[in-house]
């Protein structure tokens, strides 16, 4: 079981003049095992902040996050994170980037490389195992970043707009690959995106946040199996519904 439980989460960022910007307000969310959650919402609604609090990179002002009843107090390899920017260590080859987490755990060189090789293989980059990050395309880099997060065998995989910087075709391919990785590894995934299309394509549940201070506006279950047909009528219907929701909150009448 790898359930994430978020209770009455509030986050305020202090400003220089002594006041505070309220980023999140009263967020409650239960995420079940092996779910694929997409967080969407207007820009600045705090979806990335919510993800970073789950990761332990930010601390909540009020409220708490627990994973399997253990409260989150700081970053932990049990929660893998894939960042929007390229976060691979440029001084390490692909194989040693993927093996980084295992190295920190104290695993021996041969053993950790063996594990890393498995994950590199899983994201289809075996022939690039000895390349440096600068030699890879944007899509490849994010695949390595996913492999690096998975190599730690985390309970939850947190993804902060990981495909935001990729071109449309690469993005579609990466979405398909991510779904297949999710089905293979049975991880719980929390995925932040500003693309409603991406959310409808990937998620088992879409969580729509309201504008700042962010709180949960609506949760939409998407029970369809994968792969999904982007051009189908139901797909368009759900997408329209979510878009309207975000648009209304962003531009209230």
């Amino acid at each position: 079981m790898s359930g994430v439980s978020i209770q009455n989460l509030n986050k305020a960022f202090p400003k220089e003049d002594g006041t505070a910007t309220q980023a999140l307000s009263g967020v409650d969310l239960e995420i079940g095992d092996t779910e694929f959650i997409c967080l969407v919402g207007p820009s600045g609604c705090g979806k990335t902040t919510l993800l970073r609090i789950i990761a332990g990179l930010e601390t909540a002002t009020i409220g708490k996050v627990t994973i399997d009843d253990r409260p989150v107090t700081g970053p932990d390899p049990k929660r893998g994170m894939v960042f929007q920017e390229y976060s691979l260590f440029p001084w390490r080859r692909v194989i040693d980037n993927v093996a980084f987490g295992l190295e920190m755990k104290g695993m021996g060189k041969d053993e950790r490389r063996e594990v890393a090789d498995r994950y590199i293989d899983m994201v289809g980059l075996s022939q690039f195992r000895d390349a440096y990050p600068y030699e890879l395309s944007g899509g490849m880099r994010q695949r390595v970043a996913i492999a690096r997060a998975l190599a730690n065998d985390p309970d939850v995989l947190l993804m902060d707009e990981p495909f935001g910087a990729l071109d449309a075709q690469t993005r579609n391919r990466m979405q398909k690959e991510l779904l297949s990785l999710w089905q293979q590894t049975k991880k719980t995934i929390v995925f932040v995106t500003h693309s409603v299309d991406e959310a409808v394509y990937l998620a088992t549940r879409i969580v729509v946040l309201s504008p700042r201070p962010g709180s949960i506006q609506e949760i939409i279950d998407i029970p369809w199996t994968h792969p999904r047909d982007r051009t189908s009528a139901e797909f368009a219907e759900v997408r329209r519904k979510v878009l309207r929701m975000i648009d209304e909150t962003e531009n209230p009448q």
Binding site: M81, W91, M104, K105
Partner: protein
């Protein structure tokens, strides 16, 4: 001057983003560059010889190329030249090593820990503007006329560039690297520094060391000239001036120039090839 050299060494094709030159053309351009380089040096030597021999006519004011060459052979045969080069490299080595061993750790402390930064910065700010040569009196009082005294003056000159480079590099490490390190299991500052920040800072530290070597080399000559030592290239240069042996002075000037160039080149090649394959030639 250093920055200028970086740009000059880059092939034109990479600077303008075009890659139309074939390997053959690249080769031709390289040969052309080398030939023109040699031609320019020969031209200077010929003009120098003509001016010294037929215009100035006094070796004391401008020694000719042949005077200098003869002096060079003389000094080489007597063995003093090699001995002085060795001594100067010792001075230089001690100073630079000490600057590295102190500059990098202090730079790391100040770059990583706010408290260390606030505490040490005032001290650094007061000491930094003091010219390294102003330390010569105390170098002599503390160390006498020893290798360490000269090394100390070079240390003062080389320390601040290394410190500043390390500090700045640590300050500008992308936040996402540090966060990735944390999420992947670096629990302590020590682990983050060792596995994330330090490797990320290596290119910047390397270029700081290069600058430090340039400054250190200048301090070396001045320190030896001002009597922190009884041998070495800088000392001999000054000594021969007192003896009015101007061809010897020119020999020492040229040796100092070539040695400085050689140190810089060797270091840069070493860093480019060994340390920083991942940085793909963008290194200082």
């Amino acid at each position: 001057m250093k920055y200028w050299r970086i740009i000059r060494d880059e092939p034109l094709s990479s600077r303008f983003g075009t890659n139309q030159t074939t390997g053959q053309e690249d080769m031709n351009r390289k040969t052309q560059k080398r030939l023109l380089g040699i031609a320019s040096l020969i031209t200077v030597a010929v003009i120098w010889q003509i001016v010294a021999q037929f215009v100035v006519k006094r070796s004391f004011i401008l020694p000719s190329v042949t005077d200098v060459a003869a002096a060079f052979v003389n000094l080489l045969e007597s063995g003093t030249l090699v001995a002085d080069i060795v001594v100067s490299f010792q001075h230089f080595g001690i100073g630079l090593l000490a600057a590295f061993l102190l500059g990098v750790p202090i730079g790391i402390l100040m770059g990583w820990f706010r408290v260390a930064d606030f505490f040490l910065d005032p001290i650094i700010e007061v000491l930094r503007p003091i010219p390294p040569l102003a330390w010569i009196p105390f170098a002599i009082i503390w160390f006498g006329l020893t290798t360490q005294a000269a090394g100390f003056v070079i240390f003062v000159g080389a320390f601040f560039p290394i410190l500043t480079a390390t500090y700045t590099a640590f300050r500008s490490i992308p936040k996402v690297f540090v966060e990735a390190g944390k999420v992947l299991g670096c629990d302590t500052s020590f682990e983050l520094i060792r596995h994330v920040a330090l490797p990320a800072a290596v290119p910047a530290i390397a270029s700081g060391i290069r600058i430090a070597m340039g400054v250190g080399w200048m301090c070396l000559v001045a320190a030896e000239m001002f009597g922190v030592s009884r041998s070495g290239l800088g000392y001999q240069l000054w000594h021969n001036y007192y003896l009015h042996q101007m061809p010897n002075v020119v020999v020492y000037m040229l040796i100092l120039g070539f040695a400085g160039l050689a140190i810089d080149r060797i270091f840069r090649n070493y860093v480019d090839q060994k340390l920083l394959r991942w940085h793909a030639g963008e290194v200082a």
